[in-house]
């Protein structure tokens, strides 16, 4: 079994004319790689009618609906994170309740609000109540603000995680740009933060650093926007970890933090 904890899909209101091809490409590549479950999110309208990282409530709802439709079309392969913008607390809480009831299995927080902001607490309370993980978009060592997002640093995520010790948090895309070494130092002693290995970065030494900092029991395999890099990291890990350790990274850690029955054979 192989769970991709960081996938994305597109929909007809996204700016990309090739959205169908990209969705199909992800599923086809997933078949080649052997992905059992794509745990995915859709970030609103992907920038078309509100910013990718600051999606409006209607765009959030449309994106979540599109993902629910994909989940219904591919019940064997697609699982969903409900994406919310925590600046709209009532809408966020309602979306979480609605989408988890409809079968989604996690919560996606992109970059609408810093991870240590109190506005995230109501979201995390629902994550705890429903036993679902929170996937938090992270800029690995944010040295300044970046346009288009209120990106969180891992230190802010760890602050949130310490406030909600019963919730599992997924540190998004350790290979997604930025200083991953800074992030790995920060997560070392925060047991409810899991490291998602996705991202376009395939730096030599990064995976060894992840194993050393978080241990194999807190690593989650994923792809994000580039599946070739995800496959490369999987192949490399197979040469340095034993079979039992690989099973943790491939799927067993995911089974532990997502709701019971989230995946076909768990």
């Amino acid at each position: 079994m192989l769970v991709d904890v960081h996938a994305h899909f597109y929909h007809d209101r996204a700016p990309r004319a090739d959205w169908r091809e990209r969705n199909a490409s992800r599923l086809a590549a997933g078949d080649m790689i052997g992905i059992t479950a794509h745990v995915a999110s859709i970030l609103g309208s992907w920038g078309r009618t509100s910013p990718i990282y600051f999606p409006s409530p209607p765009d959030v709802t449309y994106g979540n609906d599109a993902l629910l439709a994909l989940q219904r079309t591919h019940p064997d392969r697609v699982r969903g994170y409900v994406c919310v913008n925590p600046n709209y607390t009532a809408h966020a809480r309602a979306e979480i309740a609605r989408c988890l009831a409809a079968g989604m299995i996690g919560i996606k927080l992109a970059a609408s609000r810093r991870a240590d902001d109190p506005l995230l607490d109501p979201v995390c309370a629902l994550a705890r109540e429903h036993h679902v993980p929170v996937l938090q978009h992270i800029w690995q060592h944010r040295r300044r603000d970046w346009p288009g997002q209120e990106a969180s640093d891992v230190v802010e995520l760890c602050t949130l995680a310490r406030r909600h010790p019963e919730v599992a948090f997924i540190l998004a895309h350790i290979g997604g740009g930025g200083d991953w070494l800074h992030s790995l130092h920060a997560v070392r002693d925060v047991p409810n933060v899991y490291v998602d290995l996705s991202g376009s970065g395939v730096d030599g030494g990064m995976l060894e650093g992840c194993v050393e900092a978080a241990g194999v029991s807190r690593l989650l395999w994923g792809t994000d926007l580039t599946m070739d890099t995800g496959w490369a990291k999987l192949r490399y890990l197979e040469t340095v970890l034993n079979k039992d350790e690989m099973a943790l990274v491939r799927w067993k850690n995911a089974v532990r933090i997502f709701p019971p029955g989230a995946f076909p054979a768990d």
């Binding site: 690995q140 740009g177 930025g178 730096d203 030599g204 030494g205 890099t229 496959w231 990291k233 490399y236």
Partner: protein, 257 residues
């Protein structure tokens, strides 16, 4: 046969990188089934005289025949012509000059003269667009990325120069390719290490629009996992002859012809 045209030996100054020795690189080649790797001495890219690493590189490659040396040339230093001649005599498949790492103007006179000399010597000139993702670089690592305009200028500066450009993404490649005449574009080869694969169609599109014959297999190892370039090709599911073109034929029958 699989040839990695983009590999390094030696330590990187900005972070700890495992597997930088010749022995470790050879193990990595075995792991990803690479038959031959073109290697540059990585530390010397950062030295005031980068050619001081060339002798060690050539001697190492002489011992390990799967490694082919790609010596560094600094066209701002006296006697650089001899470095080029030595490289050719040592059987180097290419030489490299990353002007911005050397503090040179990427389109300046030194680079133009070097391009012409490489063209006359029939030795390909290798340049990297970048070595690391710009978002993660050390705060003091302020070397700019190679601009596409510089590559176009070098291509135009000499009718015989052949360029091998590594670590370029789709936008960079398209800008240079479609900003060049067909004759100019026929003298440049691109390694695939920085081009995105599925679910994006960057590599698949470039193979169709820019042409299968323009791409070669490169990894950037050990700074990057070499498994990545293999995975890109596996996901494309190419016919055997087209895959072989990228993995070796374009090097042997194109770049080195």
């Amino acid at each position: 046969m699989r040839v990695d045209v983009n590999a390094f030996l030696g330590a990187y100054p900005w972070r700890k990188v495992p597997g930088t020795s010749p022995e470790a690189l050879l193990k990595a080649l075995d792991r990803v089934e690479v038959d031959e790797a073109w290697v540059t001495h990585l530390p010397s890219l950062f030295w005031r005289d980068p050619t001081e690493g060339n002798q060690w590189l050539v001697e190492t490659a002489r011992r390990e025949t799967r490694l082919k040396p790609v010596p560094v040339i600094h066209p701002g230093l006296a006697q650089w012509e001899q470095v080029l001649a030595d490289a050719a005599n040592a059987g180097a498949p290419a030489v490299r000059c990353d002007p911005l790492y050397l503090g040179l103007d990427a389109t300046g006179d030194e680079m133009r003269v070097l391009a012409a000399a490489c063209g006359a010597a029939k030795v390909p000139l290798m340049l990297a667009v970048r070595l690391e993702d710009g978002r993660q670089r050390h705060p003091n690592d302020a070397v700019p990325e190679l601009p596409a305009a510089a590559v176009r200028a070098l291509l135009r500066s000499d009718a015989d120069v052949r360029l091998l450009v590594t670590h370029a993404d789709r936008a960079f490649i398209e800008e240079v390719h479609f900003g060049s005449t067909p004759a100019e574009a026929s003298r440049i080869w691109w390694d695939i290490c920085w081009i995105w694969g599925p679910p994006e169609d960057h590599l698949a599109t470039l193979l169709e629009t820019v042409g299968m014959d323009r791409f070669v297999f490169g990894t950037g190892q050990p700074l990057r996992l070499p498994e990545n370039s293999v995975a890109k090709l596996d996901l494309l599911d190419l016919p055997a002859d087209r895959r072989a073109a990228i993995e070796s034929t374009n090097v042997k029958q194109g770049l080195l012809a």
